[in-house]
């Protein structure tokens, strides 16, 4: 499974990233009442040519990380370093140019395509912004990209609503590809799609990665999809990374109790397998007032007294496997 082009060279590094959203209350005078800690101290790196999966339940902050990396949101603290450049220190104009190197594929392909633009114009827009002013040249490239993502040139003349969900997601991928980026952040790109269409798109993403030497940050909640596509996987819980390891290692040898519970919760499509499921009690606590110590302690089946007091370090336990748990 290890392909030659995958290196250990770091493409993107995230250091102690935090993103707090202030919560305000009141009608006339807005009063600050606290922070929603969407991302609360996250560090990881993405290596050139790999796919890093980022999984977690809704509200764990995984989508926020993608947006902070692209600076669609400004981080509250911490750094994002892309090819040695600290993105947060770039001016708006520098960052704008940097965006051609890192692109995003959105979950809701319908909402992320301007309904009043033709698909051809949507895909041509980034090329235009990049400075290709010849219309003929842009159209040539649009046709090429449409072909690459499995659509036909005549599709360029249509509006987004005339397409099915799977086709729309291909359009979103085409737009992201138009600038030949190095990194693509895929924010739940296949979650809204039916199984057979989902498989088509996963294959497409894999093919594109090989052909254009792309690096993916693949954000999703579906663990089987993430396992299939990722080289390494990070598991997030309430704004922090609980565990990060090589994909096979994580699924075969999960260390964090949350990862273990998450894996055991996936229904297996095989009626002959009867597995012991770890059912976590209760709901995910609010990110406004996260639990003290380890954030998972309120639901952890193995909780100890230290877990309630101290926040565990995110440390290497060997074999490129990182865990944030006192018990490991």
């Amino acid at each position: 499974m290890i392909e030659t082009k995958k290196t250990t060279e770091t493409l993107l590094k995230v250091e102690n990233l935090k993103k707090y959203f202030p919560i305000k209350k009141g009608i006339a005078v807005q009063r600050y009442v606290g922070d929603l800690k969407a991302v609360d101290g996250v560090s990881f790196e993405i290596r050139r040519g790999e796919t890093l999966g980022l999984v977690g339940e809704s509200g764990c902050g995984k989508s926020t990380i993608g947006r902070v990396i692209l600076r669609l949101l400004e981080p509250s603290k911490g750094k994002v370093i892309f090819e040695g450049k600290v993105l947060n220190e770039l001016s708006h104009e520098e960052m704008r140019q940097m965006r051609s190197q890192m692109q995003m594929i959105f979950q809701d392909s319908y909402a992320s395509l301007n309904p009043r633009m033709r698909v051809g114009d949507i895909i041509a827009e980034p090329i235009l912004i990049q400075g290709v002013s010849s219309r003929a040249e842009r159209e040539k490239r649009v046709c090429k990209i449409l072909d690459v993502v499995g659509l036909s040139p005549y599709h360029g003349a249509r509006y987004p609503h005339e397409f099915s969900g799977g086709q729309r997601q291909r359009i979103g991928i085409a737009r992201a590809l138009a600038l030949n980026p190095k990194l693509i952040i895929c924010d739940e790109p296949v979650s809204a799609l039916d199984l057979s269409i989902q498989a088509q798109l996963i294959n497409l993403l894999e093919d594109l990665q090989k052909e254009y030497h792309l690096t993916y940050l693949f954000i999703a909640h579906d663990l089987s999809v993430v396992k299939h596509i990722s080289d390494r996987v990070a598991v997030m819980y309430l704004g922090k990374i609980a565990e990060l390891a090589n994909s096979e290692e994580l699924y075969k040898n999960p260390q964090h109790p949350y990862t273990i519970a998450l894996l055991s919760a996936i229904p297996v499509p095989d009626p002959t397998v009867k597995k012991d499921r770890i059912i976590l009690k209760g709901d995910v606590p609010s990110p406004v007032n996260p639990p003290s110590g380890c954030r998972f302690h309120t639901r952890c089946p193995k909780v100890q007294s230290i877990c309630k007091e101290q926040d565990p370090n995110f440390r290497d336990i060997g074999n490129d496997h990182f865990v944030a748990c006192h018990l490991v």
């Binding site: 269409i197 229904p267 297996v268």
Partner: protein, 331 residues
């Protein structure tokens, strides 16, 4: 075997008449549910699984919808011929339903207690105090902590998982014979989904309610269901017990579905094998088999005629020309 039969749907057709043409949302639905059994209905969006369920309940908005033909025998009665009064008694009492999004199916301005009590008072002809006692008991049964207090809360004060528990409590409060659950866990996170599936399994064991579980997740089918119905573009294409479906599926669409599934227990990096193409436009269905366009095994006849619903092996029904010669007619 027949006295165990709770629900039998035969050749159900439901169409929607719109400006843009007739949408054949259900075009030949056949299924059977036995007492106390869980039937999984799988299929992609637009396959007609929800429309089939709504047609069984006769909850299709008319117009634009219309149940064109078919038979829905529930507990000895044909629901398609039943009077509106009979249906009102059956809905909620004998057949209950839960939906994907519990927030939109709960009334936001009434407390959950009032909503459960309403159902109980209506269907079990109980008084207020009795209904409230029963409501608290139901909320406890579905695992809502501090049920006595929570009963006076409004739906928005519950999390998604808790709301789905409330819906289940409401649906089961009248001891229905059949529970139709339309994607009950799709909107929930994996760990919460595990809680709800676990709960549904427990409740089924205790109450003996039959469940028609509509889902797109084959994992849920494998874990919860005894029988499975596969639907594609308004047709039922395969119906069998759950083990056969996974060990010897017969319809090419089922093969395709199982192959496009990313597997958790396979370590070698391998490519998925998706079904090529897209489902047909329901306004403009092909002359032959609806799946023929995407099928790798199609024969000339597949593009000319509709396949018939055949019992290939006892209890294993398929609608595919690959089995036409050897299959016997199911009447």
């Amino acid at each position: 075997m027949d006295q165990e039969l709770l629900l039998r749907v035969k050749e159900l057709r439901t169409h929607f008449y719109t400006d843009a043409g007739v949408i054949k949302a259900a075009e030949g639905v056949n299924l059977e549910i036995r007492i106390g059994e869980t039937l999984g209905v799988v299929g992609e969006s637009g396959s007609g699984k929800s429309v089939a369920a709504m047609s069984i309940m006769r909850l299709i908005p008319m117009p634009p919808g219309k149940i064109v033909s078919g038979e829905v025998m529930f507990d000895g009665k044909d629901l398609l011929k039943a009077s509106e009064d009979d249906l009102m008694r059956i809905r909620g009492n004998d057949i209950a339903m839960i939906f994907q999004d519990p927030m939109t199916s709960l009334n936001p301005v009434l407390t959950v207690g009032e909503q459960i009590m309403e159902a109980i008072m209506l269907h079990l002809k109980a008084g207020r105090t009795e209904a409230k006692k029963k409501a608290v008991e139901m909320l406890k049964r579905v695992g809502i902590p501090e049920a006595e207090v929570r009963i006076d809360n409004y739906p928005h004060q519950f999390s998604g998982g808790m709301r789905q528990r409330v819906m289940i409590a409401m649906a089961l409060s009248c001891n229905p014979k059949l529970l139709i659950a339309d994607e009950p866990t799709t909107a929930l996170d994996v760990t919460i989904q595990a809680q709800i599936l676990d709960l549904m399994n427990d409740l089924k064991r205790e109450s003996g309610t039959a469940i028609m579980l509509i889902t797109h997740d084959l994992g849920i089918v494998a874990e919860l269901c005894q029988r499975v119905l596969v639907m594609y573009a308004g047709n039922t294409v395969e119906y069998t017990d759950v083990v056969s479906l996974f060990t010897k599926p017969m319809h090419p669409y089922t093969w395709g579905l199982l192959r496009s599934l990313p597997k958790l227990d396979v370590w070698a990096k391998q490519r998925l094998e998706p079904i090529q193409g897209h489902p047909p436009d329901l306004r403009n269905l092909p002359q032959g088999c609806n799946f023929a366009q995407r099928c790798n095994h199609k024969k000339p006849i597949c593009e000319q005629q509709k396949p018939t619903w055949l019992e290939i092996e006892p209890g294993h029904f398929v609608s595919c020309f690959l089995y036409e010669e050897e299959g016997k007619r199911h009447d």
